[in-house]
Amino acid sequence: MWSRFALCVVASLLVQLSAMAESGSHREDGPGPKVLNSEFVAKFRDAISRKDAKALEMAPEESIATQPAAYELRLLAAEAFAHAGNSLAAQMITMDVASRVPGTSQGAWALAALDQLAQSSDLDESALEDMAYEFEGSVSRPSEKAMLAWYRSRAYARRGFETWATKALTLVGKDTRWYADRLFDEATDALVDDNADAANTFYAEILKSKSVRAPTREMTALNRARLVFERGNYAESVNIARTLDLPLRERARALIEMAWSRFYLKQYGKALGILKVVDSAFFESLRSPEADLLRMLIGRELCRYDLMKKTATEFRERYAKTFKHIDSRRRLDRDEQLKQMALQTRHLQKRATLIHRYRTERRSFAEDDLAISKGLREFLLRSFAVRERRLEAEIARSLPREIEDVASQLVDLRQQISVLEAAALNKPTSARVIDDVDYGFESTSYTKFDQTYWPVDNESWWDELDAYQVLMQPHCADETTPAKESDANE
C-alpha cells in the first residue's frame, strides 16, 4: 500500500513538473526556464524520467554559468529531487530561489514549483511560513499568491499579529486550492468552539471541491470520520476511514479509532483484529496504550476474564519501566518511552516525522556529486541542519508539557485498567462456554483454538483490514450478558 501511495505522489508530481517543463520550454509564457539552453533542459528532464540516469550529476555547460542560469539549474535540480521523492530538498531549493530573486522569472518559476509541490506533498510548513513571512516581492499568479497569503497569515498569527493575519487570509482566493486549507482551519476553529455542525459543513464543502491539496483532502476526510464517530455513527466512520490513504502517523491513530467503532458496533472480533494490527511490528513505535484499555473492555463484554487478566499483565509489563519512572517521581523527559509517546501527539509527531524525513533525504544525496549546481549539496546540508534544529527547538518547547500530559493519560489508563482487572479477578477464569456463538470470520475456517489471528508483517493491509479479526469465543453464562456480535451496518 505504501509503495502504491508513493507511486501516486510521484506520478502526480511528474505530471505537474512536466507541465512546468513544457511551459518553460516555450519561454514566453508561464513559469519555467527562460535562460537555460532548452536542449540541456530537455536532456536533463529526459534523464529525470529515466530511472537509471543520474540527472543531478549532469554538469551544465560553462557558457550558461550566469546567476539567473544558476538559479534555473537549481530549480531543475528541485525537479529531480521531487521526482526522486525528496520533496523537502525540492522545497528548500524552490524557497531559496523564490526568496532570493523575487520578481524575476526564476523567482516566479520557483514559487510556481513550490506551489505545485505543496499540492501533493507533505512539506515543512513552518519553513514555508518563515519564507512567506519575510517574502516581500510581488506575485501575479493567483495560486502562488494564495499560497503565500495562506502561510503568511499563519506566520502572522503565530507571532500574535491577528489583524494582519486576518487580512492576509482574505487574499487566499476562493478559486485556488489554498482556499480549502483556509476552510479546514475554519473547521478546526469551529471544533474548538464546540460547533461540530459548522465544522461538518466546512468539511463537506472541502470534500465537494475539486481544487484541494491531497494532504488537506485526506485530513478533511479523516476529521469528518472522527466527527461521524463522535456522533455515534460508527459504521459510517469505519467506512470513511477505510477509503482514506493516510500517512503512517495518522494510520496508527485511525486504526485505534476504527477499533473503537467496531467495539461500539459490538463487532468484537473485528475490533480485536484491528488491535492485532496495531500491535504489529509495523506500528510498534506508534502503539498507543489505549489499545490495551479497549482490549480489556472487549474482554469484559465477552466475559473473557482470562483475556482481561492477560492484557492487564501485558500492559503492566510493557510500561513497567515507565511506571517505575513516574512513580519514583523522576524527570519525565528522561524516560524514552514517555518521550516517544509524547512525540506521537499530533503536532509533535508531524515535526518529529519531518526531522526523520530530513535525515532520510540527507542520507540519499549526501554522497552524491550534485554537479548540476555548484554549492547545491552544501546549501542543502546547511539548510537541512538549520531546519532540523529549528524543528527540534519547536519540539523542545512543547515536549515538557506534552510529556506531562502523556504521563498523566498513562497513569489514568493504568487506573482504569486496574479497576477493570479488579472486576475480572472476582470472576472465574473460564465460565461455561456457549457453543452456539461463534466469533469466527465467515470466509476463514474456524479453528478450535480459543484465539487466532492473521499475522501482519507488511504494509499491504489497509484495504483488507476487515478481513483481520480475532476468532474469539465468549464465555458469558446465559443468564449474564451473552455479548452477541452484531453484523449491522455491514
Partner: protein
C-alpha cells in the same frame, strides 16, 4: 521560604553584573546587526515624528490630548509586520535617546517578535534588556521576552552549529548573554510578585522558568534557580510539581538543616496537592501520593510533635487508600488514630479503615476492627449506628462467603447448619436470616418455617421487620391467608408505631373473619377498637353470651337486634320479649320480620299451652280462640310483608297454629253426664269443627311449599311444611355453621400449588385447584377465601363461583350457595359443580320443577368431584 528570598536577591545582583559584561562583549559585535534595516525616508520620518509626539505627550501628560502608544498606532496603520518592525526599531531608538526606557523597551520587544533573523533578534533582545534595566516592564512583557529570547537562543544554536557539533564563538557569546538576560528577567519576575502576587502571576513566573529550562537545560539545575522555581510553583498552586522540586532540592542538599527544610516544604506541597485533588491531574495525584508517603514517612518518625505531623500522617493513610493499597492504608490510619486521636480527621480515618477492610473483602477483619473503632470518642451516635450497620452487613457477607454460591440448594442448607451451630449468637441470627433470604428468593415454602424461627428466636434483630414483611407478602401471593393473617398480626404487634401496622392489623382481622376464625377476628377488631365488627363476629360465631355484651356498645339500630337475639338464643325469652316487641314496631326489614316471627313463635308456644281443664272451662276456650285470632293475624301480617325466609316460616307457623287449634277442638273434654250416643254426636260435631282447621293447616303448608319453590327459598321451615307439621323446625336451624373447621391440616397438594402461585400469583387456575383441595379437606372457610381471591382476579370465573357455592353449601348457607351456583351457571351454563349441587339442593327441598330444568346440564360423566351429600343421591 526566607532562604528563597535571599537566593533571589543574590541572583538578581549576579545577573546585573553578568548582563553588563555580556552586553559589552556581544553588543559591540551586534552593532552591525540586521535590526538596522533599510527604512524609507518617508517611513523613517513618520516613525521619528510619532516617537517625538509620543515622548512629548509622556513628558507633559496631564491627561489631555492623549496620544496612542506607538505599538497601538503603528499596528493599526501599517500594512505589514515587516514595515511595522522597521518603524518600531526607529521609534525604539528615538525613545531611547529621550530616556523613555519603558516605552523603548515596549517597542524593542515588538521588534524582537516581528523579526525572523537570529542576529537581528539578538540585537532587539539586547536593546530590550538595556531599556528594561533602566525602567520597568509588565509581567506579560517580561514573559513574552523570555519566550522570544529562548526562541532566539534556539535559532542561534541552530545557525551557529558547526560540523563538529560545537557552536561558533559569536553565537556562543550571544547565547551566554541571553542566558543571563533570561535568568535575570525571570528572577525579577519572581521578585516582583513575591509579596503581593496572585496565583496567575506565579503561573507566569513558572512559565518563565519553564522557558528558561527549555533554553538552558544545564543551567536550570542550578540550586538557586531551583529554589525560586519551587517557590513559584508552590505559590502558583502547582502543588505536586512544587513538591517534586523541593524533594529534589532536599536530595541534592548537603546541609542537614536545608535538607529538612526542603523536605518539609515538599511534604507541605504534596499534602496540598492531595487536599486539592479535584484540580489535580492523575499524574499529579500519583506524584503527591507517592511523594507524601516516601518523604513523609521518614520525616514523621522524627517530627511527631510538629504542627504538620497530624496532617502528614493522615495524608499518608489517605494516599495508600486512594492507591487501593488497603493493608498499608489500614496500618497508616491506625498509626494516625493512635498518635493523633484528637484530630478532627479521626472520624474519616475510622471510616477509611472500615472501608479498606470492606474493599479487601476481609469481613472478619472489618468486624474485629469496627468493634474497637466504634468505641472511639471521635464518633457521633449516628456514626456509631452506621458502623454497627456496616458490621452487620459484613457479618452477612461473611456468612454468604461461607455458605457458597447464592441460590444453590447447598447454600440455604449450609446456612441453616451454621445457624444451628451458633444458635444464640448474632452469627446464628445472620445465618438464619441469610437462609431465609435465599429460600425467599427461590420461593421455597420452607422459608416460612425459617422466618418464623427467626421471629421467634431473634425478635429484636434489625431484620425481623423485613422478614415479617417478606412473609406477609409471600403468604398473600400464595393465598396462604392463615399465614398472612398471622404474620400481619406479628408485624403489627411488634412494630405498633410503624405506619403500616394499623392497616396490617385490619387486614389480619378481615382475613380471620373470612376464614371463619371469629374468635381471632374479634380479638383483633377489639384491639383496633372496631366495636361494630366485634359484635358482628360475636353474632357470626354464635357466641350469644359475648354478643349480649358487645351488642350494647354499637349503634342501637343493629345493637338492639343483636341484643334481643342474644337473649333469645340464651333461652332468656322473657327478657328478650320487650326488645323484640320494640324491634317489631320498626319499619319493615329483615330484623323486624325476624323479631315479629320470634314473637309469633313465642305466641304459638303460649297458644299451645292453652288447654281446657274440663268441658266447662269456657275461659280457656275463649282464650284459645282469641289467641288463635291474634296469632293468625300476626302471622298473616308477616306473610304479607314477604320477607323471604320469614314468609315461609310464618306460613309454617300458621299451619302449625291451625293444626294445634284443630287438635285442641278435636281433643277438648266431654261434658260430664252425657249419654254414650250423645257423646258420639258431640265428638262428631267436634271432629267436624276440628277438620276445618286441619284443612286450613294443610292449605297453609301447601302455600308455604309453593311459595318456597316459586321464590326458591331454601329454609328448613319449607321442610317442616313438607312434613305437614310433623317436623318441629327450630328457628336457629338455618344458621350458618360458624365454628372453624376442626380439621386444619394443609392439603397435600397445597405446597406444590403454592410454589406455582409464587411464580405466578395471578394464575386463577392454580388458585381454584388450591381452593378445591381445601374443600376436600373440609376447610370450607379457607376454600371460600381462596375462591374469592380467584374471583378478585377474574370476576367471571364460573369455576370459582361454583367453588364458593359448594363451600357455602357445606357451611349451611343454602341461600348463599344457591346464589353462587346460579351466577356460575349464568356464565358457564354447564358448570358441573354448580349444576349438580344446585340440582341436589332443589331435590332436598323438593323443588321438582327446578330440578328438572337442570337435568340437561348434568350429562353423564359430568359428575363433579366436589359434591354435597344433597347431590350425591342424584
Amino acid at each position: 521560604m526566607i532562604r528563597a528570598i535571599i537566593f533571589s536577591f543574590i541572583l538578581v545582583l549576579f545577573c546585573s553584573w553578568k548582563i553588563t559584561a555580556a552586553a559589552e562583549s556581544a553588543g559591540t559585535k551586534s552593532a552591525t546587526g540586521s535590526v538596522a534595516e533599510t527604512v524609507t525616508d518617508e517611513a523613517s520620518t513618520q516613525a521619528i515624528a510619532y516617537a517625538d509626539k509620543y515622548a512629548a505627550y509622556l513628558k507633559t501628560s496631564d491627561g489631555a490630548g492623549a496620544v496612542e502608544s506607538p505599538v497601538e498606532y503603528f499596528k493599526k496603520n501599517l500594512e505589514s509586520p515587516q514595515a511595522y518592525r522597521r518603524s518600531m526599531a526607529k521609534i525604539a531608538e528615538r525613545l531611547g535617546t529621550k530616556s523613555l526606557w519603558a516605552s523603548a523597551a515596549e517597542a524593542w520587544l515588538e521588534v524582537l517578535v516581528a523579526t525572523s533573523d537570529a542576529n537581528a533578534r539578538f540585537e532587539a533582545a539586547l536593546k530590550w534588556s538595556e531599556a528594561v534595566r533602566k525602567s520597568k516592564a509588565s509581567m506579560k512583557d517580561r514573559l513574552r521576552f523570555v519566550e522570544q529570547a529562548v526562541m532566539t537562543v534556539q535559532e542561534l544554536r541552530g545557525r551557529g552549529s558547526r560540523g563538529d557539533g560545537k557552536i561558533g564563538k559569536k553565537e556562543a557569546t550571544q547565547i551566554e548573554y541571553l542566558e543571563v538576560a533570561v535568568r535575570d528577567t525571570v528572577t525579577r519576575m519572581q521578585q516582583s510578585v513575591r509579596d503581593k502576587g496572585q496565583i496567575e502571576d506565579f503561573a507566569s513566573v513558572v512559565r518563565g522558568y519553564e522557558f528558561y529550562q527549555i533554553g538552558f537545560p544545564q543551567q536550570s539545575e542550578n540550586s538557586k534557580i531551583q529554589v525560586n522555581r519551587a517557590e513559584s510553583l508552590f505559590r502558583a498552586q502547582e502543588w505536586s510539581r512544587a513538591g517534586l522540586e523541593f524533594e529534589s532540592l532536599s536530595a541534592a542538599s548537603k546541609s542537614a538543616e536545608k535538607k529538612a527544610e526542603f523536605r518539609e516544604s515538599a511534604i507541605q506541597a504534596y499534602v496540598k496537592a492531595l487536599n486539592d485533588s479535584d484540580n489535580a491531574t492523575p499524574l499529579a495525584l500519583v506524584r503527591a501520593r507517592r511523594g507524601v508517603r516516601e518523604v513523609g514517612t521518614s520525616w514523621l518518625a522524627k517530627n511527631l510533635r510538629h504542627p504538620a505531623a497530624a496532617s502528614t500522617a493522615y495524608n499518608i493513610g489517605q494516599s495508600w487508600y486512594e492507591d487501593r493499597a488497603y493493608p498499608q492504608a489500614i496500618k497508616a490510619f491506625n498509626f494516625f488514630l493512635e498518635k493523633f486521636n484528637k484530630d478532627s480527621r479521626c472520624r474519616d480515618a475510622i471510616f477509611m479503615i472500615i472501608n479498606s477492610y470492606s474493599q479487601k473483602e476481609d469481613f472478619r477483619g472489618l468486624i474485629r476492627a469496627s468493634k474497637k473503632l466504634v468505641k472511639l470518642p471521635a464518633l457521633s451516635d449516628d456514626d456509631q449506628k452506621a458502623i454497627r450497620e456496616l458490621m452487620r452487613r459484613a457479618q452477612l457477607k461473611d456468612v454468604q462467603t461461607i455458605a457458597g454460591a447464592f441460590g444453590t440448594k447447598e447454600y440455604a442448607a449450609n446456612l441453616l447448619e451454621l445457624a444451628s451451630k451458633h444458635k444464640d449468637s448474632s452469627l446464628g441470627a445472620t445465618a438464619l436470616y441469610e437462609a431465609f433470604t435465599s429460600m425467599n428468593s427461590k420461593h421455597e415454602p420452607e422459608m416460612f418455617e425459617v422466618g418464623e424461627s427467626l421471629l421467634d428466636k431473634f425478635p429484636n434483630a434489625a431484620y425481623t421487620k423485613n422478614v415479617a414483611g417478606s412473609m406477609v407478602k409471600a403468604a398473600l401471593l400464595t393465598a396462604d391467608f392463615e399465614r398472612a393473617a398471622k404474620y400481619m398480626t406479628i408485624y403489627s404487634s411488634r412494630y405498633p408505631t410503624d405506619p403500616e401496622s394499623s392497616a396490617l392489623r385490619k387486614n389480619a382481622a378481615q382475613i380471620s373473619e373470612w376464614l371463619g376464625d371469629f374468635k381471632e377476628a374479634t380479638r383483633l377488631y377489639r384491639n383496633l377498637g372496631d366495636v361494630e365488627s366485634v359484635a358482628r363476629c360475636d353474632f357470626l360465631a354464635g357466641d350469644w353470651k359475648l354478643l349480649e355484651g358487645s351488642s350494647t356498645k354499637i349503634n342501637p339500630a343493629l345493637g338492639l337486634y343483636y341484643y334481643a337475639l342474644s337473649l333469645w338464643r340464651q333461652g332468656r325469652q322473657a327478657e328478650a320479649l320487650p326488645r323484640l316487641k320494640q324491634l317489631s314496631t320498626r319499619p319493615e326489614s329483615e330484623h323486624s320480620a325476624h323479631a315479629r316471627f320470634l314473637l309469633a313463635q313465642r305466641a304459638l308456644d303460649d297458644f299451645r299451652a292453652i288447654q281446657m281443664k274440663d268441658a266447662n272451662d269456657q275461659s280457656a276456650l275463649v282464650a284459645k280462640v282469641k289467641s288463635f285470632q291474634a296469632l293468625s293475624k300476626e302471622l298473616n301480617d308477616i306473610v304479607r310483608i314477604g320477607a323471604g325466609k320469614w314468609t315461609i316460616a310464618a306460613l309454617y307457623l300458621l299451619g302449625q297454629t291451625n293444626l294445634d287449634l284443630g287438635r285442641f277442638i278435636a281433643t277438648s273434654p266431654i261434658p260430664l253426664g252425657l249419654q254414650p250416643n250423645e257423646v258420639k254426636v258431640y265428638r262428631r260435631a267436634l271432629a267436624k269443627q276440628a277438620k276445618e282447621y286441619g284443612v286450613a293447616s294443610t292449605q297453609n303448608f301447601k302455600l308455604c311449599l309453593e311459595t318456597a319453590e316459586k321464590f326458591e327459598v331454601f329454609t328448613r321451615y319449607a321442610k317442616g311444611c313438607r312434613m305437614r307439621g310433623k317436623l318441629e323446625v327450630k328457628e336457629e336451624s338455618d344458621t350458618i355453621i360458624a365454628a372453624p373447621e376442626k380439621n386444619n391440616s394443609t392439603p397435600k397438594t397445597a405446597a406444590e400449588l403454592r410454589k406455582k402461585l409464587y411464580e405466578s400469583p395471578g394464575d386463577t387456575k392454580t388458585l381454584t385447584y388450591l381452593a378445591a383441595a381445601y374443600v376436600q379437606e373440609r376447610q370450607y372457610w379457607t376454600a371460600t377465601a381462596i375462591y374469592n381471591r380467584a374471583l378478585e382476579l377474574d370476576p367471571r370465573n364460573a369455576e370459582a363461583m361454583a367453588g364458593v357455592g359448594i363451600s357455602r353449601l357445606f357451611l349451611n348457607d343454602l341461600e348463599g350457595a344457591a346464589l353462587m351456583f346460579k351466577k356460575a351457571l349464568a356464565i358457564a351454563p354447564n358448570e358441573p359443580t354448580a349444576a349438580w349441587n344446585l340440582a341436589g339442593l332443589y331435590r332436598e327441598f323438593g323443588f321438582a320443577s327446578h330440578s328438572k330444568e337442570l337435568a340437561s346440564k348434568r350429562p353423564k360423566g359430568s359428575r363433579p368431584v366436589l359434591l354435597h351429600p344433597m347431590a350425591e343421591k342424584l
